[in-house]
């Protein structure tokens, strides 16, 4: 596979390490009342769609960016690649 890195252009997927669903960005609030349930869902439950999937790839053999890649799990077609940090910010994560 080829991942079109937003900063570096097309790179072979072998340069990257895969983590999983980009929902892993949405780490729950540890002080929420139901933090235990939220962390369980965060850590263990997955939508696992057959189709479009937003997922985290890490450019370990490159610039060490974490990327959010939108990829179809049925065809492996990649339709979007973003810097994960930008995605995280857009989802309301800060310091």
């Amino acid at each position: 596979m080829i991942i079109n890195h937003p900063l570096l252009g097309p790179r072979d997927a072998a340069e990257f390490v895969y983590l999983g669903d980009a929902a892993l960005i949405d780490r729950p609030d540890w002080q929420a009342k139901d933090a235990a349930e939220q962390f369980h869902a965060y850590g263990y439950l997955r939508d696992n769609p057959a189709g479009t999937h937003q997922e985290l790839w890490y450019h370990e053999q490159g610039d060490r960016s974490w990327l959010v890649v939108t990829r179809d799990t049925l065809t492996h077609e990649i339709t979007d690649v973003q810097i994960a940090r930008d995605v995280a910010r857009s989802r309301g994560r800060s310091a």
Binding site: R46, D47, T73, L74
Partner: protein
């Protein structure tokens, strides 16, 4: 029709025209006691044991395509019970014992061949871990044997002992491990279930569940609705997709695992060998092909195919331990979709919906589990209580903090 040498002789003399279908091709009825979704190895085994052990025969196995088209049809055929943890080892040992009597039990030769499995080890730390595991196997009534490098050199002189990047320091054998003709397992269970009255219905896709007030009363299918007292999901590889129709999110990701076979060769490998410092395991089929595999490709996929980096990585592992295979040729590679669970171990459990049951999350280890999975799932369906060797294979184990993590990789499915 009972199979025997005599029957073959008789049929051979009469042009092989008297053979009957191995299973019937019935129309689905409108209602069953149990509907099993998925005509793979586990689903068919479940139906077989439901009928044989519990006398529950008003059962349908619904298969979207052709039976055995899932992972029982595309695996690397290995059976073994060389696990470490109490949540796994007794279950897999039961499975191995069932394998040992299976052919006589269902009168079908699945070519169960206890040729041994050998896990090579390459460091002191690995040896400590393998001894721990070997001892756990003994405690569960299984067999294990530690072999040092000298013994292995005598037994397997073709391994690379002298020029290895990661020298072979020994290995853990399970002599009772081995291989099975995988397709025959599906067919044998299908035949056994069918002959006891189970309806095996191919080309019948489940498209939804009939759930009212938290109770599952049947399924919608491409061949019409079917009501059932109990509905049993058994669709590893597609678990998330099917369970989503019942509104469930699972602790499972789908990943692709590639497998490989070489051209046929005269016998070279005595048993199954796994490489402890790379990603490679191999055995030789009765037809002569080296059947081998390695690691997952590593990304979520339902595509049933993988990519080149893993193909090459697996071949590198092979050449690293047995450089005599360099001139053997890869004949065919394929990819199967694995239900990768969050701790690398499976589920055989009720769901939060009454009447709806779940069997899945087998990762890439489902084939060897086929008989015990059927046995324990049948027990659960018949008795509504987990079988004693499957008590830890629960869906709520992560919420409780009771993981069954053989590899110690945590909640990242592609690392298991």
């Amino acid at each position: 029709m009972r199979y025997s040498a005599l029957r073959i002789l008789k049929e051979g003399l009469t042009g092989n025209k008297g053979w009957k279908p191995v299973w019937r091709d019935p129309e689905p009825k409108s209602e069953y006691d149990v509907v099993i979704i998925g005509g793979g190895g586990h689903g068919l085994a479940t139906a077989y044991y439901l009928a044989k052990e519990y006398g529950i025969t008003n059962v349908a196995v619904l298969e979207k395509g052709w039976i055995g088209s899932g992972n029982v049809g595309r695996n690397t055929t290995i059976i073994r019970s060389n696990y470490l943890l109490p949540g796994n080892e007794p279950f897999y040992e039961l499975s191995l014992k069932l394998w040992e009597g299976l052919e006589q039990d269902f009168n079908y030769n699945a070519m169960i061949s206890q040729r041994s499995i050998l896990n090579l080890l390459h460091s002191d730390g690995q040896r400590d871990a393998f001894i721990r595991r070997g001892n756990a196997m003994f405690l569960a009534g299984a067999d294990a044997e530690y072999a040092d490098a000298d013994q292995l050199r005598a037994e397997l002189p073709f391994l690379d002992f002298d020029n290895a990047r990661f020298p072979i320091k020994g290995g853990l054998y399970q002599r009772r491990g081995g291989t099975v003709r995988h397709d025959a397992v599906a067919w044998g269970f299908a035949r056994g279930a069918d002959s006891r009255g189970v309806d095996i219905i191919q080309n019948c896709e489940v498209t939804g569940f009939d759930i009212e007030g938290g109770v599952c009363r049947g399924v919608e299918t491409s061949r019409g609705p079917i009501r059932a007292r109990k509905v049993a999901m058994c669709v590893a590889g597609s678990s998330s997709r099917v369970a989503a129709q019942a509104g469930m999110r699972l602790p499972i990701e789908s990943h692709v695992l590639q497998a490989f076979v070489t051209e046929g060769l005269k016998p070279v490998l005595p048993g199954v060998i796994t490489f402890g410092a790379g990603h490679f395991y191999v055995s030789q089929s009765d037809k002569g092909g080296l059947v081998f595999g390695g690691d997952l490709d590593g990304y979520n996929s339902y595509a049933q195919r993988g990519n080149l980096p893993v193909v090459e990585d697996v071949a590198e592992g092979g050449m690293a331990i047995m450089p005599m295979i360099g001139r053997a040729r890869l004949l065919r590679s394929w990819g199967g979709v694995m239900d990768m669970s969050m701790d690398g171990s499976p589920f055989i459990d009720r769901t939060h919906i009454a009447g709806l049951y779940f069997n899945g999350g087998w990762c890439y280890g489902g084939f060897k589990a086929t008989p015990a999975s059927g046995w324990c799932y049948a027990h659960l369906l018949a008795r509504d209580a987990p079988h004693p060797v499957a008590t830890e294979m629960r869906l709520d184990r992560f919420a409780r903090g009771h993981m069954i993590d053989e590899k110690g990789m945590g909640n990242q499915p592609n690392l298991h």
